[in-house]
Amino acid sequence: MRMILVAGLISLLPAVAFAQAGEPAPSVDLPEAEVSKVMTAAVDGFIRPGYSAFHRSAEKMTSVVKTLCGTPSAANHDSAKSAFRAAAVSWAHIEIIRVGPVIEQNRFERILFYPDRKSTGLKQVQGTLSKSDETATDPATLATKSVATQGFGALEYLLFGTGSEALSREKNGFRCRYAAAVAGNITNVSEEISGIWDAPNGIQEAWKQPGPSNPVFRTGGEAATALLGILVHGAETVRDQRIETFYKGPEKAKFPKQALFWRSETTWPSVKGNIEGLAALLEASGMADLLKQSDRPILASTKALLKSMAELSEQVTPDLERAVEDPKEREKLDTLLFQGREVIISLSEGYGGAIGLGSGFSFSDGD
């Protein structure tokens, strides 16, 4: 590899704004104070409470799984399964935030390794079980292993997959101790993320006060664009990754066992959690306040669509084999796909256009 040393090539901006004549008008020009208010509300009203709630639910899940290990029984196994579902839904709520500390140091993948079309996670978890690898029973050493063996996917197989019935019989068996370590690892990662967002002078301040010396957002327009990007990408993920992964339409090939959390029948609660997360961020941030009064119905229709999707997702059968084959169930899936598209368009075109993005075309990177 050829490499040259480039000393002094990178520097930091002076804290003073470049407000001289000739400064170009940003593509999205919004009142800075209003944007700051919206970003503050997004951080304090959704992001920080969301990670904090997820951390608490992960802690509870860890505690319940440890109880199962020490006192195995069918009832405690059921409690562990319930705690898993609750933590998975709590994660789904905040999972829509795919920027910031969660995507650094593989934290996202360590919590959830998905999609996994080649079943890498399943193979690796089965491998760990067959070898009874004791280093997988300590969250600290588990954290150094493949990300596919240390998050929700692994824990779902351990609690719900083939051989999981042994959990209600074996005291401190390997499978249970591995499950407790996975839960502990998820707890540790969630605590890390929550701590980074809660640190007083860190990312939360950068999000709340866009400006020339800000390491994340130089202008209010950039911040508002990023916030909208979270919503659009979140809606795209629900539609394209969580539903279309196993169902793209009545005439297309169907893969019900590619769905996230099919084993634990948590697919739809997770989808609902994502949708409710999007609606909650929209509401908590007060993004509507950045629009002219005449444009505000755009978000009202977006919220109505999200509400409809959340309600419909509850009505789909958790039996995904049936969901993709039964015409009545498929109709619900088709409606979810259609409404998902509508949400994406109303956010990127409607809201994006209303705050000054070129027809929603440029909110994303030009590449």
């Binding site: 050829r2 390491p215 070129g358 440029s362």
Partner: protein, 360 residues
Amino acid sequence: MWRGEAIDRRGFLKAAGISFTASLSPRSLMALERADAVYAAGFRESDGSFGIATISERGEIIDRASLPARAHGLAHSSATGRTVAFARRPGTFAMVFDLSRQTEPVVITSPEGRHFYGHGHFSPNGALLYASENDFDGNRGMIGVYDARDKFRRIGEFDAHGIGTHDMTVSDDGTLLIIANGGIETHPDFGRTKLNLDHMEPSLVLLDAGTGALVQRHGLPPALRQLSTRHLDIGADGRIWFACQWEGPRNALPPLAGWFSEGGDLSFVSLPEETTIRLGNYVGAIAVNRREGIVGMTSPVVGAAVTLDARTGAVLKEELVRDAAGVAPAASGIAVSSYDGQFNETRSKVAWDQHIVRLG
């Protein structure tokens, strides 16, 4: 990409042939006849559909064709008159158009396990088409090789020696493939999400065009690890110009462009602070006007078009262009398009996409 004075509008008309001009409306024909240069660019219609258009130097749309989805970069062969629009990543199609309309458009589909990264280039004689591609399960950039004389059959591929391969071009003599590996890992399962911003590996690579053998590879120093090397063009003197997008702290002032030559080290252009700020730490497109010895760069982040002296790297001109998108060499200066429909002096009711290619 148009590389100089070899072809102008007359050359374009000759390549396009009578059937092309005969198909145009009187208005389009007039636009073409008074154009000093002709371009192609992808666009989005107001109804959300996508297409590719030929455009006069004034920015008037001469002709248009539909595309199945959003395109990104384009390649043109003046030897054969063929133009290719590549799908935006992680798209899997590339559409080949014959301006003479003697042959139907050809759709190239990326093979299993690959998607297009949005850029490619013809060999000088137009016989081969090279395309930047992602081997997403292997997490490595590839250059797909397609035989333009055989319905664009895929005849091979070369390792791009990097990840997040984006723009690529071919040396004038056709012996080298020049590759910008942006260093950012993506996977179609995760849409356009950037998966490794905290451990990026940008690089600039030269390959032997015949064998795919690695000729030269430049990584970036640790301080510039988050500087994604994305777009390329070649100057009259053989200098390879590259443009970058910074993924690090927003309040940093990284270098955003530079150049190198075969056998030489990287040199970064030292832009004035205010220029770096206006570019928003992001250059979306770069093009060299060889005849005038200038380099054009655009950024949609703040909205700017910047022209450099290709010899010294000095800033010659800065314009405020809202939603600035593509650049290409013009008969005089640099042609600039924008997401909000501006193309030089004309505004159309389309959103121009990120890149322009000059056809003649």
